[in-house]
């Protein structure tokens, strides 16, 4: 084989390999958006837990929550829903997360606190005041990331005034 022919074959081989390689790269790159749309978008929600209430007195209490993880978002918006118990059960987590619990249809969604922003995991709390003495309240932590997520529904009972006794609830005839 002459040197000229040898070089011609080598360069042809090189060029065809490069073209094939580039073709494969383009095909794979065109598949990346498809792969990304399958796992992509905002899919990992924050994780939030409701913690026990603290500093419970006759008319005030501190309700607590913990943001365990942020999920996909850069900032998570946390709050609490709360209300007086005794009139029914808490909403389900799903109802809470879909914002379908409203005052009147469950005890834990009668009120909502202000929303705070969190940039990383950690605890958060809200001071409640003007509560009724000797009364059971329901509350749960809520976090908005990709979607809204809710912690468990917990309760606390405010202290009774000195000398205050709970009257028995009489059945309605």
């Amino acid at each position: 084989m002459s040197i000229q022919k040898k070089y011609m074959i080598s360069s042809w081989k090189l060029a065809s390999s490069l073209i094939a390689g580039l073709l494969i790269v383009f095909i794979l790159l065109s598949l990346v958006p498809i792969a990304e749309s399958q796992y992509g978008g905002c899919t990992v929600n924050p994780r939030v837990e409701t913690l026990d209430a603290t500093n419970v007195s006759t008319t005030t209490a501190t309700i607590n929550g913990e943001l365990i993880s942020r999920g996909d978002v850069s900032a998570v918006f946390v709050s609490f829903v709360w209300g007086i118990g005794g009139e029914g059960d808490c909403c389900t987590k799903t109802e809470c997360e879909k914002n379908s619990c409203q005052p009147g249809n469950c005890t834990d969604c009668q009120n909502a606190t202000e929303t705070e922003a969190m940039l990383s995991a950690g605890t958060f709390s809200f001071d409640l005041s003007g509560l009724e003495p000797d009364t059971t309240y329901y509350f749960r932590a809520k976090a908005k990331g990709c979607d809204s997520v809710c912690g468990d529904c917990l309760t606390f009972t405010t202290e009774a005034y000195a000398g205050q006794t709970r009257l028995p609830v009489l059945p309605v005839p």
Binding site: K13, S16, G21, V25, G41, V73, A75, A117, K144
Partner: protein, 140 residues
């Protein structure tokens, strides 16, 4: 060219194509981990924020000013400040929640006199955006 030579050349070509393909696959998958945030930026609107000049500068306090131009995705935006004595920004203020575009400010205290500080406004919900880095110098 005889058949033997042709087979040898074809074999080398196939090997070359395979190697190029494997390299391409490795390159694509190696770049995959950084693509999540890029996907979020492509799919969801980012907030827009501007850093404005600092005001009310004393020897130990300052007011940082910013403007949220748009919320981006969602109804809430967390606005906060990165600041420090260098552009590394070793400090960050607590985030405040904004629900509509507008100006916002933060009063910083405990600064050193006659010192240059760097700061920039940040806005975050699904994505995070930040304004230009500006400086102020506390008075003596």
């Amino acid at each position: 060219m005889n058949a033997r030579k042709l087979w040898a050349i074809s074999g080398r070509m196939v090997a070359g194509i395979l190697v190029a393909g494997i390299v391409a696959v490795l390159l694509v998958f190696a770049s995959a981990p950084i693509s999540k945030s890029k996907v979020l930026e492509a799919v969801y609107l980012s907030p827009k924020v501007i850093t404005n000049q600092a005001t009310e500068i004393t020897d130990s306090t300052v007011t940082l000013n910013g403007e949220l131009e748009s919320l981006g995705e969602g109804e809430y935006v967390a606005v906060y400040w990165e600041w420090g004595a260098s552009e590394v920004f070793d400090k960050e203020t607590s985030p405040q929640v904004m629900t509509s575009p507008g100006t916002f400010s933060f009063h910083l205290s405990g600064l050193k006199p006659a010192t240059e500080y760097f700061f920039r406004a940040n806005a975050a919900n699904i994505n995070r955006a930040f304004g230009e880095t500006l400086t102020f110098t506390t008075i003596k």
